[in-house]
Each structure stands twice: as structure tokens, then as C-alpha cells.
Symmetry: D2
């Protein structure tokens, strides 16, 4: 066919398959959200509508992509994780990342009006997101990644809560507040909040302090003393066939995705939800909280 | 700070900078658009509203990313090209691809209602796109890539026009039509169209036959006999500084993006628009057609 | 300086750092050794001199690169493994692979005369090796890699022993022997060997049946019931500083490298030599066997 | 077969095919040659035996790999270049690099005794090399790479010649000489050489000032005014079939490899040897100089 003359250009496409049997984390970030949050008048330090919109879009992604086993979001970023045994799109990096970024964006734009009914989107300032995929070779390191994000959430939120209290309630200039906070410890910020503004940081909302963690809601298990099991069984047993994969996807679609605001650094979270690290379905739940 | 304990996980992020001085093409594709076009009742073989929406979203991307020098779209796919001298995002592949995919998706979802006023989007069936970046080492090969897509447009559109005429006007069963078309040449399809349905394929709309090409509208130049110039000057002269880049971006934002449906295989298109392959701004136009 | 005009070409060098915390296996293979073994008259099916030369070259590599923790060789191939905590050359793939390939080649050529005193090398037929690096995310999979090679050794050696007995002792034509062996099971080959040639395969030399495994000789430990420990402790604890690395290298240089011909598929080998999978030095040995 | 249980580990091998239609340069470097040159008593600033050995090993590589079209060496480094139309080993990076590094090492070790008859190699200090592959998208940039290396040769040799004159003839301490040379221009070094040691740098041997360039000796052509032609013809015409490749290799093997010490920065070198940049065989020569 006539096309064959040009078809050689396909040979320039380079493979980008991620290493088998590693955790894949796709982290997406809002593009220019500092400016954008000013443009659409997001409330400082935390705009609940904006966070709820992020979470709703992330739930949309989790539902569209049943291979995802957990997601964690703070501010304008979200991390989506695939289990080491995931075979979606043959683990092609660009395909995985762009699918998540596009699906997230689609839900975010589509749902904007639900969360910001009085602030219509402007075509010259549409929100968008970039993203990247990172591999983590085992569950310990993957959990350290998740801990890293949650510690970051805490650090940023304590800072922002203090900073905006000083500016909005304390009437300080932004530069002034920034200078005073430079080099301060957590304890210093807690004290500023409490002494100057009567704010006990511990009483702040969990969604601000802990971020949002999304997962499929199977029956919680008793927390055990044994440490979390590694996903180190040989690949050939782990890798489900295409038919099995489709079956597992169907099952997962039926399980509800929950939005939680809890500690994911300590073992308890993972021990009570062993299906996340095992990559195998859990028992169906008898009850579910805050269902999305 | 407490975070340092986990921060080592950043070391797992791997660089993905594309080779300098190569054309970068980001091609995006609609995910599951076969099913989606049924779901939303797209007209066969070509739904003008859907194509116009694709083009409007692509214009949005061209405006948001002035580094892009040309784009070409057919059906539910779009190719966006960066010139070899492009330094956007330090040429990081994931950043370039996800930014384009997300920006395109944002405009597509945002503009849906404009092009499909009577067919509201459904949250369980939101359109989304995946994408990938491919490098082409020189202008000849880059132009072959563009020719490849336009030949594909022709082949697919002739096939689809014939197929859907047989089905919709000829009352044939889809399988029947498929079987009859198997192995036919272009001339056969032209004949079927003309003899059975009185359709002269040449009179079909250009947007269907040629696809859509988007570029910034500078003053067209006289077509010359000399073949297209190569972009082979040494990198150090080509690579603009950060400040120069920002300046060029500003200039480009002011130039209108046009949507054209013309031959991009022959030399003429490129000779009359030398700024596309040169990567340097052209003369400001005195007139402009179909401005987007 | 004048050079700066051209120095931009360095920007085309792309990073190739391997993912942290994964096993790195560099496998090298003789180039065209089928032809080369004919050229230099290697004895079939196994030339002890050639294998001893391979082992001596591999010992040279292990001594020159104390970061290596184990190596395994069969025929004209050798696999060298770095522990997940290895930081040598910042884990740059090309640097690791080429250093091993070059060092191995240097020893091989240098030592040729020792093992083939009557067969001088010819400049037009110098032995050479190619190689590649592969990452394995955890010890289970790394051990499966090692098992794969040793199973291959067994399969190939049983086949070759039978084939060459049929040809050299049985006077069969090569094609004939090949045809008869096609589709046979291990038991069939064992029977051919025993019934036709009075060879009990179990009595063949261990070096041919098991291949050669090289490691540093610390004090063997009692085989325990507990399964092999995972190398999953967090990276930041695992990664030694530059100074510590140099110290560990010095210690390792003092430990003797042994050449063993034993089963590395079962747990026992790894349990008695826990320093290999742990990446930490063992106890100094009180005795050592077959020291290289 | 029993092996299938472990064979899944092959899936961890990742492709490393280099972008089509780009120049591939494999640069190799001596490992620890500073120390090694002391160990074996290399003469300073240039040891002719060591350079001749490098060149002889490089000629060996050029003969073993007819796909190579040019090589350039200075000190303990050598750059080997494959033309954009090269298909050797399907352009797999590790395979190309390790083959060159290993072949070079084999010749270097094998030939050592010819060039250093009185200085036998010691097993604990065997010379070895590392290497890497870099892609250059067009001939202009590839030539800039070659110019970069030759400018480096000039800069280093002028420095070393001056430094070692000051130390060996001038009796200066190494540190002293280093300090005095810090920040000096070429003209300063020329003056030191001339005024203090009566050395006219221009009269130094070409091999030291220009390095060594290796290529296949076809009939030189008249230098033309036209600038060097680009290798931009479409890939499908350029890429020879496997059979054609083998034929071209055979032809190339018959052509002699010459070692030259000439300017490769100016156009003349390339214009008179058009086969290097074109990748097509030249006319057979009627005479040849310094044949290797």
C-alpha cells in the first residue's frame, strides 16, 4: 500500500516498558497551581472545595483503572500506585502515565462546576496536570515513598496554617511572616498558632493534616504483630493471565473506593488492609465508611 | 527535618531527557474512542462536530504551549511537534507528553458542550487520551512522519467513506461490506462510491480527505525551486538562552493559529511556510484565513 | 577556551543509571565461540583448559572489583552480580558492563598461554566478549536468575555429553545424532549414555554438571531452617558512604575468592553463605578450599 | 522443560536500541591509566610506544568491525564511529559498546609485548578500558564531536609538553609547574617552551599535536567548494538489507585501514574522503600511505 513508503518512521518509536515486579507510582502535579489558585480565588491555607475536587477526580481514576491499588493526595498532587504484579498496558511507562493524567484531568474539568458552582472555568486558564512514573523495587521502599508524601503533607500544612494565620488573622505582611517562620521548628509553629491565635493544631481537620488516601474497601483485618509480608514470591506465580487479569478487574470494579484521612506511616494501616500490599483481593466488606 | 528519613526515595526517579537537536513529536490518541463514538452517537463516517472539537482542543494546546510549531490531526488522534531547538522543560519526555495530553483533555472536556450541545457528557464515559513522544533526527524524516499520518488519513477516509456508504446507503450488513472491501485498491473504492452511490470522492470535504494541520500564521512566502533547508546548524548557535526563549514565546503567542486542510506531503506547504522547519519566527502576516 | 565552541556535544551524552536497590547482573558471552572453539581445537564436549581459563579470568575480575559478590560461569558465558546496595560508578550501566567485559577480556588474553601453552593466539582470531546488565528487584528473583543459569548448564551439558558420545564414540554423523536427540527427555539421554557408552552421567565431573560459582570465602554458617532473609531494609541505612565503601572494598580484597562446583538452586548454598545475599561481610574463615 | 520455571527472569532484560539514523560514537577510555602509566614507566609527556599500541589495537577493532567508518584517538582514549545507516547488532547499545571495548582490550593485551618488549604485563595491573555510546543526530554535530576531541588533543598536548619540559628539563617541582601554568593562554605556553627550552611547538610530531585518525583508504577526491553533503536521505532508501550489509562488510574488509595525523576540523579532510560521511564505499585507491 502507498503508505509503506513512509511507514519506516514507526521504527523511531522506542520501547519504555518498566521493570517487571516493581511498584509503579504515577505522581501527578497541578501545572502552575500557585497562580491558578489565585486566579480562581482558592481559600488559604486550605480550600476544602479544591481538595474535595481533587479527591473526586482521583476516585474517578481509581474506578476507571481497577489495576490501581492505592492513591494518596495532598494539595494539588496525587500519587497513584500499581502493584508489582500489574501488567496493564504491558507496563509501558508513557501509556500508564498519560492515561492517568488524562483521566484525572477529564474528571477534574468535568466536576469543576460541582465543587465551584459560582466560579466558572475560563478557557484561557484551564487547570492541567503533568506526571511521571517511578519504580520502587519492594514494599518497604514503596511504603517509604508513601510516608515521604505524608510527612511532606504534615510539614507543608503546619507551615501554611501558621503562615496564613499570621497573614490573615495576624495582619502581617507576607514577607514578614515568611521571615519570622524561617528556620523555626514544628514546636515553634505550634506555639505561634496556640499563643497568638488560640489554634490547637491537633484539632485541625484530618484531611488537612493527613492528606487523603484512596483504596478499595474490603473487610478490614485484625492488626497483627507480624510485620508486613513482602511481595517476593516468584513472578511466574504472581503474573495472572490476560483472562485472569480481566476477571480481577471486574471484581475490583465492584468494590467501593473509599477516601480516608489516616496515618499511612505506621504499620497498622497496611496490616489491617493486607490486600493493598499483597495485590490479591480481600474479603468483601460487611460495612463501609465514607463511600465515594 | 523529619522528612529526610524518607527523602531517599527521590533517588529512584530516573531522568528521561530526549536527545538534543531532534524533532519531538507527541502523538495522542483517544482511549477507546470506537466504543465512545457509539456511546455519544457520533455520525459515521465523519462527525464534523467531533473533528471540530478535536481541532479546537488542539488550538488550545498550541496557544498554551507556544513552543509547538505545528500539529496535525485525523480522527481521534493528534500529533504535536517541537522543533529540534526546543528546550521546553529541558526536553524531559514525561513532562512534555503529560502536559500536552492533560492540556488537550482539559480543552476537550471544557469545550464538549459547545460542539455537542444536546449530548451531555456522562461521568462514567468521559473521553480521555493517551500519548507518547518520538524523536526524529532530521527534517526529512520528520516530514516523512507527517506524510505518513496524512497518507493514513487518506487511506482510512476512503475506506470509511466507502464502507459507511455501503452500510448506510446501500443497506449492507457491516460484515458483508467489510468482506467485499477486503483487498480492494483505491480505484475499486472510488468506483464503488461513484457507480453505486453517485459519490465523487474528490468532492468530499477537504477536512475529511486531508485532515487538519495547525500552525502559526506568518506571511506566506513564494514557493521556491530550492529544496527545503535542513536544520543542521550547530547546536550552540541554535539554542536560545532562557531569556530569549521567553521572548520568542511571547512573540509566538501573538501570532494566530490557523486550522488548514491542505496537502503537507509535497514541498510547497513547507516552502511557503519556512518558519515551521527553521524554527525561527516568520514575517507578520498581512492577512489570515480561518483564524482559530 | 577555544574548546567551548564544540563542548556542547557533551550534552548528547545520556544518563544510564540503574534503578537503586536492585540486584545488578552483568552477563558476558564469548563472541563467536562456536567458530573460535573449532579454530583453536577445543576438546568436545568440554575442554577443561578452556573452562579453567574462563574461571581464572573471572577470579581476576572478582579480585579487581571487590564490589562483586558472586559470579557464575558455564561454557563461554559468565554472570557477575552486584548487591542491591552497590554504589560502584554511581550504578552507571555502561560503565559497569564495559569495566567487567574489558577486565575479563584482559585476564583471558593474558592468561591464554598458561592454559593453552601449545596453542598460541592468532591476531585475526582473538577471543572477545560482549555483555549486558540486567536488574532484578529482589533476592528471590535474583536467585531464580542464578537457578535459570544452572538449570541451563545441566540441560546443555547432558545434551552435549550425549551428542558428542554418539559422534565421537558412536561414530555417528552430527546430523544423525542431532535428529535422534530431538525431543528426547533427560531420562532418554541418561539411558543412551549408559546403555550405549557405559557412561553414568552422575559420575561426570561436577564442574561440567554444575558449572562454576565464585564467591568470597568467609566462614560457612550452619544451614538453618529459616528461609533466606530479604534485603529489604530501607535504603538510607543500607547505602554506605564513600569512605565506608572504600573500607568494605579493602576488607573484601583480603578475602579469598573460591571456585566451587555446587548446587546453587537449593536454599542450602545461600543459607550457609549469608554474606552473599546480605551484602555484609561474613566472619573470616578458619579454613578455605580450592583457593584461587 | 524443567527450565521454563525460571525462564521468566529473561523478561527483566530491557531493550536498549539506539535511535535510527543517528551517528553512534563509542568512546573508550583507559581505566586508571594515570597510575598505570607510572607503573609501567610510560615516557612523559608522550610515550610513542603507548600511542602506537593504542593505534594498533584500534586498527584491529576497525578490521574486526567493518561497519566502523572512522576512529580517532588521543592519549588513552579512542572514539569509534558508526554511520547513521549502520544496522550492526540491530543498533543495541550494550552490544555495540561491549564488543568494541572487548575487541580493543584483546588486541591491546595481545600486542603489548610487541610495543613494550622489555616491560612484561603484571597480572595485578592489567590495562583495561571502559566505554559508552553517544548518538549524534546529524553530520554537522558529529563533526563537531570530532573537532571537540581534536581541540582537546591540542590543548592537552600543549599543556603537557610545557609542563613536562618545566619538570624534566627545567627541574621544577610538579606543583610549582602546575601553579605557574594555571590560567596561562596558548601563547604563554608557546613562549615558555620557546624561550626557556628552545622548543618550537609547531615542530613537535604530528601524532602528538593532532592525534590519530583511522579510516578506510579509498581514492582521495578533489576538495570541492561545495559544503559537505548531509546524510538526510530517507531511511528506507538508506537501510541496506541483511544481505547487502554483509556484502558491504566484505568489501570494506578488503580496503586498508590507514592511521593518519591530520586536521579533521576543517572541511578539507571530509571533502577529500566523502565516503566517511556518506556511508557509501568510495573508489578503490591507486596508492595508499602508512598502511596498517
Amino acid at each position: 500500500m502507498a503508505n509503506s513508503k513512509y511507514e519506516y518512521v514507526k521504527s523511531f518509536e522506542q520501547p519504555d516498558v518498566l521493570l517487571p515486579n516493581t511498584w509503579i507510582v504515577v505522581r501527578i502535579d497541578g501545572r502552575g497551581f500557585h497562580k491558578l489558585s489565585d486566579y480562581y480565588g482558592f481559600i488559604k491555607p486550605n480550600d476544602r472545595r479544591a481538595l474535595d475536587l481533587m479527591n473526586a477526580a482521583a476516585v474517578g481514576v481509581m474506578k476507571d483503572l481497577p489495576d490501581l491499588c492505592i492513591a494518596y493526595g495532598i494539595s494539588d498532587e496525587y500519587s497513584f500506585a500499581f502493584h508489582p504484579n500489574c501488567q496493564l498496558f504491558e507496563r509501558r511507562s508513557a501509556k500508564l502515565v498519560t492515561t492517568i493524567v488524562s483521566t484525572f484531568t477529564a474528571h477534574y474539568i468535568y466536576l469543576w462546576g460541582t465543587y465551584f458552582p459560582d466560579t466558572p472555568l475560563q478557557p484561557a486558564a484551564l487547570p492541567s496536570f503533568d506526571g511521571r512514573a517511578v519504580m520502587y523495587p519492594n514494599s518497604r521502599i514503596f511504603r517509604d515513598y508513601m510516608s515521604w508524601r505524608q510527612v511532606d503533607c504534615h510539614i507543608n500544612n503546619l507551615y501554611n496554617t501558621t503562615f496564613w494565620s499570621m497573614v490573615l488573622q495576624g495582619g502581617m505582611d507576607r514577607r514578614e511572616a515568611e521571615l519570622e517562620l524561617k528556620g523555626t521548628l514544628s514546636s515553634d509553629k505550634n506555639e505561634i498558632l496556640f499563643k497568638r491565635f488560640g489554634i490547637n493544631y491537633n484539632n485541625e481537620e484530618e484531611i488537612y493534616k493527613k492528606g487523603s488516601v484512596l483504596y478499595r474497601q474490603y473487610q478490614l483485618e485484625e492488626s497483627s504483630d507480624s510485620s508486613v509480608q513482602e511481595e517476593t514470591s516468584p513472578l511466574q506465580e504472581d503474573t495472572p493471565s490476560k483472562t485472569q487479569q480481566e476477571k480481577i478487574r471486574k471484581l475490583r470494579r465492584k468494590v467501593q473506593v473509599v477516601v480516608d484521612h489516616v496515618d499511612i506511616i505506621k504499620d497498622e494501616f497496611w496490616e489491617r488492609r493486607p490486600w493493598i500490599l499483597s495485590g490479591k483481593p480481600g474479603k468483601l466488606p460487611t460495612e463501609a465508611k465514607e463511600v465515594a
